[in-house]
Symmetry: C2
Subunit: 595 residues, 2 copies
């Protein structure tokens, strides 16, 4: 405890920490907000605004303030460390990219309005890159000739732009955002398989070090294409995605990728004659179920969808009354890109009945897809395709011979795990923070990125691509870990790990003590911030909890008189009275204990 307190008002000459940072709250730009901003729907957006980490400049376009930048740099450092360790090499690819490249790969027209298109002063077309497959493939095809130059894996942490139709949730779905994107080039399938596994491990390691609880799930390859894909999902109530996982084995998957078992028809039961019944104004399964006193599990829930094929053909999908259709599974079953729920007009034209009375029986002019799970329903109920009428005693093997049987529903809690088959599935909400793809030869073929193999034969390189949303990782950490007072940071990515709160800035002994603790922590290689503001204690405590410094050291008149100070752990709220002579050690061991 050798550094004397600095009572000067001139912040220029105050002691700096080991990184030369100037970390007094009184001179730091942290514009906190007391009120919950009306613009913010989700908690991470609210808390990032309130903690003074971000501010909106335009729809989906945010400035990141000093406290936010500190978190960004910590996440970036973890990403760089792990990517470098994996053998990947950092590059910086331009954000403004020529249209010709995107046309070459076939994505200029494909990408739609999400691609921000730009004309320069000479009316040449460019775009603000939302991803960099084209640019990196162009770079590598120009330099790599031989199998000897492969494999290589190039990554960058660079600003991207996606002109989202509905930017929302703050930095979670912003238009301008920073993404770590990596692109690997291998000579053969073994190589890309190996690189892919290595990237999966690297990503696990990154998110683990960011202090996140996450699942790695199998994912649809979607518009990027390729043969295999995994998403890294941070588990949080507010997640936009639903995932299914098994607690018995390692299985975890996006719900659209969960294969559910085929079922047997109810051959053995007593098939009663089908019968039309009156259900006046009873449109929902809930209403009819209550009216008839029959469980929703005995209902054939029937929905009409519009496909995106050239004729916008309508299809009908049927699942159990207590289940729901998964549109991605349905689209894959039909062989189209996308299905959307039909409007009333289309429903009536397909079934002849108003919404609420639709059923699969008698629908001959339209394709009807039935989920496997309705096969065992014995003497079930469905809409009669007539206003105010339902059918009872419907049996699928007898009455639905026109139906195509497929796996098209969402999994539910308790479904059998499709992996080893012993466990049961649980569902959870998740936020996608990372996504990895085996692209194969998709881009290398269309753009001519080839190499000569050992036998001098020209072959396309096999690619993978790997993305992490930097700000989204931060937002998801907040979604996962906060309470009614504010953010509860994982220690590894907290903007500052420790705040030293000086309660009475006019009491010399308090100031001296706080300054000494602050200086000692700096000497020990930590990055504390000193709350030296002339503010009421209540304000200081509230803001410390709002911002979520993991360890808070409270230096006040009474404790100091007893040669003590308090250490508060943000996560538990526990406060400990600690003698000044051991306080630095206790702070450090408390931090270590938090991981």
């Amino acid at each position: 405890m050798s550094i004397l307190p600095d009572k000067s008002k001139d912040w220029q000459i105050q002691p700096l920490n080991r990184k030369g940072l100037h970390l007094r709250y009184s001179r730091y730009f942290i514009p906190t907000l007391k009120e919950i901003p009306a613009e913010a729907e989700v908690i991470s957006h609210q808390l990032m605004l309130r903690a003074g980490m971000i501010r909106k400049l335009a729809a989906g376009v945010y400035s990141i303030l000093p406290l936010g930048v500190r978190v960004v740099r910590k996440v970036e450092a973890i990403i760089r460390k792990e990517m470098d360790k994996s053998g990947a090499m950092e590059v910086i690819l331009p954000s403004i990219q020529p249209a010709e490249l995107w046309k070459e790969a076939g994505r200029w027209n494909f990408y739609g309005k999400e691609l921000l298109r730009i004309s320069d002063r000479n009316d040449r077309e460019f775009c603000y890159a939302p991803t960099a497959e084209e640019a990196v493939t162009d770079l590598v095809r120009g330099e790599v000739r031989s199998y000897k130059d492969l494999p290589i894996n190039l990554y960058q942490i660079q600003t991207k732009f996606r002109d989202e139709i509905r930017p929302r949730f703050g930095v979670m779905r912003a238009r301008e955002f920073s993404m770590k994107d990596a692109y690997s080039f291998d000579t053969d399938q073994d190589g890309i398989d190996h690189t892919y596994i290595q990237m999966k491990q690297t990503y696990k390691s990154i998110f683990k070090q960011c202090g996140l609880k996450f699942k790695v799930v199998e994912a649809d390859t979607g518009q990027i294409g390729g043969s295999s894909s995994h998403e890294f999902m941070v588990l949080a109530e507010s997640g936009e995605d639903t995932i299914a996982y098994c607690d018995e084995c390692n299985f975890a998957s996006n719900i659209e990728k969960v294969s559910l078992d085929n079922c047997e028809f109810a051959y053995d039961g007593n098939h009663l004659p089908m019968q039309e019944i009156d259900t006046p104004q009873l449109k929902t399964i809930g209403e009819v179920s209550e009216f008839l006193g029959v469980s929703p599990q005995k209902f054939f829930k029937t929905l009409v969808y519009k496909t995106d094929d050239e004729n916008n053909k309508a299809v009908v999908a049927v699942c159990r009354g207590d289940h729901s259709i998964n549109p991605v599974k349905l689209a894959n079953a039909i062989g189209v890109n996308e299905v959307t729920l039909a409007n009333e007009e289309l429903i009536e034209s397909v079934t002849g009945a108003p919404v609420g009375f639709v059923g699969p029986i008698g629908l001959k002019k339209v394709s009807v897809y039935g989920d496997y799970s309705i096969k065992p329903i014995l003497n079930g109920i469905t809409g009669a395709n007539k206003k105010d009428k339902h059918m009872k005693n419907v049996n699928s093997n007898r009455d639905m011979t026109h139906v195509v049987w497929k796996d098209i529903r969402n999994p539910v809690d308790g479904d059998s795990c499709p992996a080893i088959g012993v466990g049961k599935l649980s569902l959870a909400k998740g936020i996608e923070v990372g996504h990895i793809f085996k692209l194969g030869a998709k881009y290398s073929k269309s753009m001519g990125a080839t190499f000569l193999d050992k036998n001098g034969k020209e072959k396309p390189m096999l690619m993978g691509c790997y993305g992490i949303g930097v700000a989204r990782t931060i937002a998801s950490a907040i979604e996962q870990s906060h309470d009614e007072k504010g953010i509860v940071w994982p220690v590894s990515i907290a903007p500052f790990k420790v705040i030293v709160i000086l309660l009475q800035p006019k009491e010399e002994l308090v100031v001296t003590t706080a300054e000494m603790i602050y200086a000692d922590l700096i000497k020990a290689g930590h990055d504390p911030i000193l709350d030296d503001r002339d503010q009421r204690p209540g304000v200081k405590f509230n803001e410390a909890d709002l911002i979520g410094f993991p360890v808070q050291v409270i230096v006040g008149k009474k404790s100091v008189a007893n040669k003590k100070a308090e250490i508060k752990v943000r996560k538990t709220g526990k406060i400990q009275d600690v003698p000044l002579e051991t306080i630095t050690d206790t702070i450090i061991s408390t931090l270590d204990g938090l991981g």
Copy 2:
């Protein structure tokens, strides 16, 4: 020397250095070029392409490859360290900014075609920010209310775009480029003066740590505006700018900011009668001077300029035959933003004579500006404003009473220093790598960035802005320090400080020794790269010199047999034979010696 050599071919499991980097040349992406690329005019552009640091994606748009990124990160780290030390705080402002902001500050129309304008999917106007005064002023005006919140200084290292009419010289004048830009906000003149001086010191410290020889020069505030401005000029033959400096005092300045003395007319000489002479087809001062046997110093060189005022008024400027007009000084003298040389048509319409025969005599309908230095010319020569005619015996006090006298010429070697006045000026070529401005209230007034002072009175904040071109700093280091073999890096920003060159990758003892030196350097906290490629020694030596690793450790069969290896210093070319037992220490002390 404990780490055993790794003879595995699997690069994934090779030892990593302390930063976890994977630094074997054989697996590193360094696509060097043997030939000088035709597209590259200047040496830094040639060498950055040849050393595999950059590649062009489009005109003025470059990808930075791994070796280049290493240098970028080192320069950025120096910038961050010094900016943080100064108390500035890092932010990240969006690259895509709404037009409304730029209109508010009055720059949307002013900026012209250099501003890359963009419409989003909803046809809202944006631009790719070339600088961020608007965005940062918008941020600060929204958060800062009181003098207590000031001063603050916010900086970012962020990608900018300027749609240059003629992008050239590689990253030196690119369209997309990374700039460190900082913006300070103070309450009063003392504050901004203090911050400005502090930033000047910070910049000196940054460029010094980057190993650059530079001058801090007074500069014109130009389009950014404000009251004071300095440029940081790296001295290099290839510089686009000329600066004047005094070796007796600290004076250094852009040439347009050098005030040159007023002169006395040649009152005392014998004023001969003015006389028209025949100078058939002799259009240049050189030709007429030779024809008449009279030194160019006796000539009144006369040029016609077009101004950018609303009528594009023409003006005439006169200087000594051996001097040149400085267009910025001339524009300032006239009170316009810009002057450009007139075309033939305008010259003839103003003077009645073709190019080559223009002089100030008799030009009554146009403003004529004479540089002070022509006042002492006795019986001088100038164009007669008639084809194939000049005038001799011209005396300015007698024959140029219609002339406005101003300081409008460029300085020359040997001019008196305007600072203390004892020294003489020298001229040098420089590359602008940094620029600082006192903006004052220019943006805060137009955008309403005000605060309440101690007396509760609303006042505009006083701003400064401060820029460093990151890639340009790197290119200028190369312009300043290279030889016919390649780059000679300042040690502090070299991509790797040491290369260990393993000459015979199939000789076990050579491999073992090189691996041990490599591992020892890593252990000692250095960042070596190991050239483990199966290549001829000549190729390895040439590439090491091309890339410019400051220290090269050469491990070959013969030396190793004698328990020695060679240390070569790139800068001097000197090679030293060093016993293996002390080699790591010698490498480290050699590095230290290089600074």
